[in-house]
Structure formats: C-alpha cells, structure tokens
C-alpha cells in the first residue's frame, strides 16, 4: 500500500491513511458549518500536498465521497455520511488551521488526527455564555424590529428559558421537531407575557425568538450554492429552507391556536 511521492515528500504515504485524515478534517468542517466547495477544496489540497497524483472529491450537505491515487498507482476511496450540521465557528476556525498546517506540511498526518479529535470537542466558551447569547440576540432583535423595552426584556428572558429547555433534548431528536417545540413554547410564553401585561407586542417577542432560526441565511446560502454551480447542494438547501419555514410557521400556529391568537 505504501509508496513514496517523488516531489512533495520522501516519506512513505499510505493513501488510505492520507484520505482518512483529509476526510476527517473535511467532514468535521462540514459538520461545523463549512461550505461544500470548501470541503471539497480541503480534501484536494491536503491530498495533493502529501503527494497524491490525482484526487476526486464530491460532497453535498450529507455526504462526502473521495478517491485518491498516488504516483505509484496505489489508491484509496472512502465515503462519509454527515448526519447533522451545526454552525460552530470556533471549531470551523480550528479545522481551518489544521487544514492549512497540513497543506504547508507543518503538521504530520498523525498529529492532524490528534488535532481533529481535539477540535471536534472544542468550545470557545462555557454553555452558560451561549444562553446569555440567546438572551442578547432575542432581546436585541425584538427592539430592532420595533418592539418596546418591555418586549426586549420579555423576548430575551423567554429565549433564555426555551434555549435552556431545548438543550435538555437529546441531540438525536429530529431537528425540525425541536424547532417546532422551541417556537411553540416561545409563542405560548410570549402570548402569556402580553396577556399578563408584562410585554406589549407578541409579534416583536416572537420575531426576536425566531431570528436565530429563521431560514434567511440558509436561503441565501442555498441560492449562492446554486448560482456558484453546486446545484444539488443548493436544491437541498432550498428544501431545508422550506422545511425550516414550515416548522417555524407550524410552531407559531400551534401556540396561537392554543391561546386564541395574537393579543
């Protein structure tokens, strides 16, 4: 299996190990919210930097498949399934650094394996700060879209509460069902807050709550992928946008149906 690349290195590179390492970096990049074209570039660059003669990569949001052939004719082919994607920019940044280091050959494949294992559990701050983030985000956008100071406070506190509750749900739980539950709870609490005269506008509270989940960015990313030539990824993104919008609408519908509509 081993062969020596004549240009990039004198050490022997096992194509299977090389591809496994490149895919580890690429798959975790995709899971952390990296773009599909970046994932494909990552595999190609790492493999070529370690002496590959030919690399073929294909990726969509849920799968990465790649084949690498070395100068001596040995080759390896792998497919990885990506079950869930979450936006985790700090991990994305770490994986980007690993990828750069591998391409410049400042890191060995063995070191990269260890670094990826560390990066996939990396968090830049404690979980409680993420709860504060949800409070600031919902509160800020409630006032941004025209709400009062009371709406800002209500939206922030409700967001803090429901984000805390949602975190108790296991990650294996369906993402769309989690979103419906989150919006339903938020809509319910927003309506009660207004009925109890604690806030002024249900609309503004709910808008603040849904802003981090709204598919506007997913829609923009899907269109970008479509127009840049990643047609399958773009279409999947558009379908995901539609499902997210339907989930949010369904959550709002459930909450308002139960409470009798906007006060």
């Amino acid at each position: 299996m081993d062969c020596t690349h004549p240009v990039a290195t004198k050490e022997s590179v096992d194509p299977d190990f090389l591809l496994r390492t490149a895919l580890d970096v690429a798959v975790h990049t995709l899971r952390a919210g990296g773009e599909v074209h970046r994932v494909e570039e990552t595999v190609e660059r790492i493999c070529y930097a370690h002496g590959a003669a030919h690399v073929e990569v294909f990726s969509i949001n849920s799968i990465v498949t790649a084949t690498v052939r070395m100068e001596c004719g040995t080759y390896a082919s792998h497919t990885r399934r990506v079950l869930s994607i979450e936006s985790h920019m700090a991990r994305l940044s770490r994986l980007n650094e690993i990828s750069r280091a591998l391409c410049r050959r400042e890191m060995t494949l063995e070191e990269a394996q260890v670094a990826v294992a560390e990066a996939k559990h990396y968090s830049p701050f404690p979980a409680w700060l993420e709860l504060i983030g949800s409070l600031i985000c919902a509160g800020g956008f409630a006032i941004f879209f025209g709400g009062s100071a009371r709406d800002m406070l209500a939206s922030g506190l409700i967001s803090l509460l429901i984000t805390g509750v949602i975190r108790l749900i296991p990650s294996s739980f369906n993402a769309f069902a989690s979103l419906v539950l989150l919006i339903f709870l938020g809509g319910l609490l927003a309506t009660f807050a207004c009925r109890l005269q604690l806030a002024d506008g249900v609309d503004y509270i709910v808008i603040g709550l849904i802003m981090p989940h709204i598919p506007g960015l997913t829609f923009g990313a899907a269109l970008r992928d479509l127009l840049l030539g990643d047609i399958l990824t773009g279409l999947i993104g558009l379908m995901r946008t539609l499902l997210l919008a339907v989930s949010i609408a369904f959550g709002i519908f459930l909450a308002f149906a139960l409470t009798g509509g906007v006060v």
Binding site: S87, N96, F144
Partner: protein, 157 residues
C-alpha cells in the same frame, strides 16, 4: 437620529448575541459584531438613497461579504464566520414572520405581499454575497499573477 441610533444599538446587540450562538471565538467577537453594525449602516444608507429593498440589501450584503473576506485574510480565519454574522441584521425576520403569520391565517393577499418582499430581500442578500465572493477571488488571482510576474522579472535581471 435617535431612532437610527437605537436601530444601530439593537443591531449591535442582535449581532453579538447571534455570534455567540454561532460560537465565534471570543477574540473575534468585537470584529464580527462591528461588521454586522456596519453592514446594517450601509444597508440603511442605500435604503435612504434609493428606497429600493433589493439594492439596499444587495449593497449591504456585498459590503458584509467583501469586508468578511478581508477580515478572514487579516485574522487567518474562515470568511464564513465573518459574513454569516455580519449579514444577520439584513435578514428580513419581521417580513418572514408576517409571511408565515399570513399563511397560517389564510390571508392570501398579505402572504403574497410579504412573501414577495422577503424573496426580493433574500435574492438581494444572496446576490451581494455571490458578487463579493467573485470580486474577492478575481482580485486575489490578479494580485497573485502580478506578484509572480514581478518575481519572474526579478529573475531575468
């Protein structure tokens, strides 16, 4: 003026909170938040000048995209981190909420009105990002070509 400052302040809070939810690294939080506020300011300026939703969002997203790529080069971090957060104040949350609300209330006229505007803004944002990506790639290639030309000329001498 006071209203605009409140908008900027709330855009700052919203972007900061959203960036924390995206788990942007602490050292980059101020940069990312500032980009969000500036993108919204650019959007507001063009909205005032043109009164056109598409153009205002397009220019706002273009600014977010190009400045995001520049910051990515400066901080050696993925551009996604910068422009994803910077674009959040442009996302038509209110319009999308009203579109969805009209849908569940079976109000066809409002659904079409708000839905059309949301779509227009979405297209404006996407076009802005795409143009930004293309502009940065072309500029980067031109600079690389210029530098390699200079190196080659140096060798001949």
């Amino acid at each position: 003026m006071v209203e605009f400052l409140i908008l900027l302040g709330s855009a700052l809070l919203g972007t900061l909170g959203y960036s924390i939810l995206l788990r942007v690294e602490l050292r980059l939080l101020p940069t990312v938040t500032l980009l969000g506020v500036l993108s919204f300011a650019v959007y507001a300026l063009f909205d005032y000048l043109t009164a056109d939703l598409f153009i205002a969002n397009f220019v706002g997203a273009l600014f977010a995209s190009v400045s995001g790529y520049l910051m990515a080069i400066l901080h050696r971090a993925p551009a996604t981190m910068f422009y994803t957060s910077a674009i959040i104040p442009l996302v038509p949350g209110g319009l999308l909420y009203h579109t969805m609300y009209a849908a569940i209330k079976a109000n066809g006229a409002n659904f079409l009105k708000y839905g059309r505007e949301s779509l227009l803004i979405g297209l404006g944002i996407a076009s802005g990002i795409i143009l930004g990506v293309i502009a940065v790639r072309i500029t980067r290639d031109l600079i690389a070509r210029f530098l390699s030309c200079r190196e080659n000329r140096g060798r001949k001498i």
